[in-house]
């Protein structure tokens, strides 16, 4: 009996010791000594990662070689490397809604599903379900996980409360209020030389900003049978509102404007309202005075439709299909998208894709410091719930489709075509891409 008890005690002791060992069976140092190459787009996330790369090396022994390029240059270089089927790059950033289908078909993404499901490859505190569902779906193509989300972004409505109050104009609460608000602001002398409205006008960038106008007006990019639906009356209404705002209240030269010019105006305090990227938040805060007089919210919903369907998407980080170091790369992905990293990145203006971080104490204390940060955070929470990344009818040729949309809207505000003709011609052109 005593022998049995002793055996039991020993057995229990062994089990008790084994449990922590099992939990620690994930070995961060498994690939100690390896080096992986990262090709990243110029983004606050990338800059931060580069600065913190030493920490990753300390934790795992894996060395990081990080290369960062401006977005256009980044695409040219990434394309060259991937077309050459080169193993020179292990990890890269990718915008799945834009190129996901194409890259996936070309075999340019490594399938991360087996790695995710393998407890020997994935740390137990990784918690994949912590990422928002929409973002998780965006990084999954044909059932395969092809990347992890690194941020959350979308266009938000920014307005200068100071200009509004000087002109005694109320904050627009519905989409349909925008033209009236703009007219009142235009008539107001007290605004000085400030511009009433500015937004992206360059052909390739318009789709980003106009899509929510189309959705909130009751329009859609695709009809139930999958055909382009921009010729529908509500779609036309939304596009026309965007174009007319630019034409009637926009700055001269809007046809070439992208976020660069818009943010300069907003930052200088010379812009009353705009629909611009949430990424620009930290940039705008660099201009003195803006943290007090800028308001941020989601684009007002349609009055007639009650619809608020903003654009939201996130950059993802993926492993190259040609990489010869997929597991070390996966280790990096886990570390870079961990809850700890994300709460630190928040201070750099990178909106976190993990719910736990959004609701966590770090984020709450940071947003609590300034009301405008809270407004930015609230807007992001809202768009992650109600938003979509779709700004094109079903097609693989996403970039072309978005440029065509931009071209049609440009024609309207340049006065080269009326809204109906431009949008219906657009539908015809888009159908050819399907």
């Amino acid at each position: 009996m005593r022998a049995n008890l002793k055996c039991l005690a020993v057995a229990m002791a062994m089990v008790c010791c084994a449990i922590p060992t099992m939990a620690q069976s994930f070995n961060w140092k498994k690939h100690d000594g390896q080096t992986i190459n990262l090709l990243l787009n110029n983004h606050p996330w990338s800059q931060a990662i580069k600065e913190m790369s030493g920490e990753f090396t300390n934790k795992t022994g894996i060395k990081l070689r990080v290369e960062i390029f401006n977005e256009e240059q980044y695409r040219a270089r990434l394309n060259t490397v991937l077309q050459a089927k080169s193993s020179d790059v292990d990890v890269y950033m990718s915008l799945k809604f834009r190129e996901g289908t194409m890259y996936s078909k070309a075999g340019w993404y490594a399938d991360l599903t087996p790695l995710l499901n393998n407890p020997a490859s994935t740390s137990p505190d990784f918690r994949y379900t912590d990422f928002g569902e929409g973002l998780r779906n965006a990084e999954t193509i044909n059932g395969k996980l092809v990347g992890l989300p690194i941020n959350l972004e979308g266009p938000l409505f920014y307005w200068n409360k100071d200009i509004f109050s000087r002109c005694n104009v109320a904050e627009p609460m519905f989409l349909e209020d925008l033209p009236d608000t703009a007219a009142k602001l235009k008539a107001c002398q007290a605004k000085g030389d400030a511009t009433v409205w500015a937004a992206r006008g360059i052909r390739g960038a318009i789709a980003y900003a106009v899509s929510a106008f189309i959705y909130n007006s009751g329009g859609d990019f695709a009809s139930p049978n999958g055909k382009p639906n921009l010729c529908a009356p509500n779609s036309i209404k939304g596009a026309e509102m965007y174009a007319n705002l630019l034409r009637d209240y926009g700055p001269p030269g809007a046809a070439n404007h992208t976020f660069t010019q818009v943010i300069e105006m907003l930052g200088q305090g010379k812009l009353a309202m705009t629909h611009e990227s949430s990424n620009e938040f930290s940039n705008i805060m660099k201009f003195t005075g803006r943290e007090k007089d800028i308001g941020i919210k989601v684009l007002p919903k349609g009055k007639a439709t009650g619809i608020s369907k903003p654009i939201v998407f996130g950059w993802g980080v993926s492993v190259s299909g040609y990489s010869t170091k997929k597991e070390p790369a996966w280790y990096f992905l886990q570390w870079a998208t961990s809850a700890d990293m994300q709460s630190r990145l928040v201070r750099r203006g990178v909106a976190p894709p993990r719910s736990s971080v959004f609701n966590g104490p770090d984020f709450k204390s940071w947003t609590g410091e300034l009301p405008i940060r809270q407004a930015w955070a609230n807007s992001l929470i809202e768009i992650s719930k109600t938003g979509t990344a779709i700004s094109y009818p079903p097609t693989e040729r996403v970039v072309e489709a978005r440029e065509m949309l931009g071209g049609a809207v440009q024609k309207i505000f340049l006065g080269q075509a009326n809204a109906k003709d431009a949008m219906c011609q657009l539908d015809a052109d888009l159908a050819k891409l399907q």
């Binding site: 695409r75 077309q83 194409m102 052909r203 010379k270 693989e396 970039v399 440029e403």
Partner: protein, 287 residues
């Protein structure tokens, strides 16, 4: 002169010729091969023969690009050659603070394209830019510059001329320094001075030098890309979508590699034709 000496002189050119040949033969061959296929990233590659070139022939945007490219080329080349020669002649006559003045005057083309583009965005912005601000203050009409559908090409010509006229001037300056003095002395004896000296002696002797400037500008103007890409990305609409911009968009934005290769081969052929024409001039001018 013995054949052996003739041979040893010719040998001097083979390293350069072979070097360039080896570097370009594979890329051209590869691009040509790609142009014979329908190849979009993510789809299976399909041999289609000359179909891409047929599509180019029917492509409205190709002809738009062709027209814009020629417009930009013609205007810029003429302006830059004329102004460049004038500037070069002026630089030649400067005596005081020669080094400083000459350097200041040729500095524009030493700036990298990304900087020129970003400066253009700021300086020429119709609303916030310095240029319109100055024009308004002297009661001159303002312009949309790069944002104007009709005016964008002329604005680009203007920017490019500011940037590259000094380049032509520098080449011309070099040419002027090499002109044999005895011809001027002989002409002076004959009483030719001032503009007659310029038109009948200097300019003809500068012919080969101007030709070099014309060829070097031509290859770059016909492939114009950098400033347009940074400032307008081919817009407004397609008003500044030159052939090179169009090919780039097709290749890197729309991932239509086969068609883009066909466009690049076509553009290369156009440039080749221009260089051939100028090469014939060299024959006539130089010997």
């Amino acid at each position: 002169m013995s054949a052996q000496r003739a041979a040893s002189l010719q040998a001097l050119m083979w390293p350069a010729v072979l070097f360039v040949f080896l570097m370009v033969v594979f890329p051209f061959g590869f691009a040509f091969w790609l142009s014979l296929h329908d190849y979009k990233i993510g789809q299976a590659i399909r041999f289609t023969g000359l179909e891409n070139f047929l599509l180019i022939w029917r492509d409205e945007l190709f002809w738009n690009g062709f027209r814009l490219t020629l417009q930009l080329y013609g205007l810029s080349l003429v302006l830059q050659l004329v102004l460049g020669v004038a500037l070069g002649l002026l630089l030649n006559r400067i005596q005081r603070m020669r080094s400083l003045v000459r350097t200041l005057m040729v500095s524009p083309f030493m700036l990298p394209p990304v900087v020129i583009g970003m400066m253009a965005i700021v300086i020429l912005d119709p609303g916030m830019g310095v240029v319109n601000h100055l024009l308004k203050s002297v009661h001159l009409p303002t312009s949309l510059f790069l944002a104007s559908t009709e005016g964008v090409i002329y604005t680009i010509v203007f920017i490019d001329t500011w940037q590259w006229t000094p380049f032509v001037a520098l080449i011309v300056l070099g040419g002027l320094q090499a002109l044999p003095q005895r011809i001027y002395e002989a002409a002076a004896i004959d009483g030719a001075r001032g503009w007659r000296e310029l038109v009948y002696i200097t300019l003809p002797m500068l012919g080969p030098t101007i030709l070099t400037a014309a060829v070097l500008r031509s290859v770059d103007l016909l492939r114009f890309f950098d400033v347009i890409y940074i400032t307008t990305q081919g817009g407004p609409g397609y008003a500044s979508t030159t052939l090179n911009i169009y090919a780039y968009k097709k290749a890197f934005d729309f991932a239509d590699v086969g068609y883009a290769s066909a466009l690049m081969i076509t553009l290369s052929t156009i440039v080749f034709a221009a260089v051939l024409v100028f090469s014939q001039f060299r024959k006539k001018l130089s010997w």
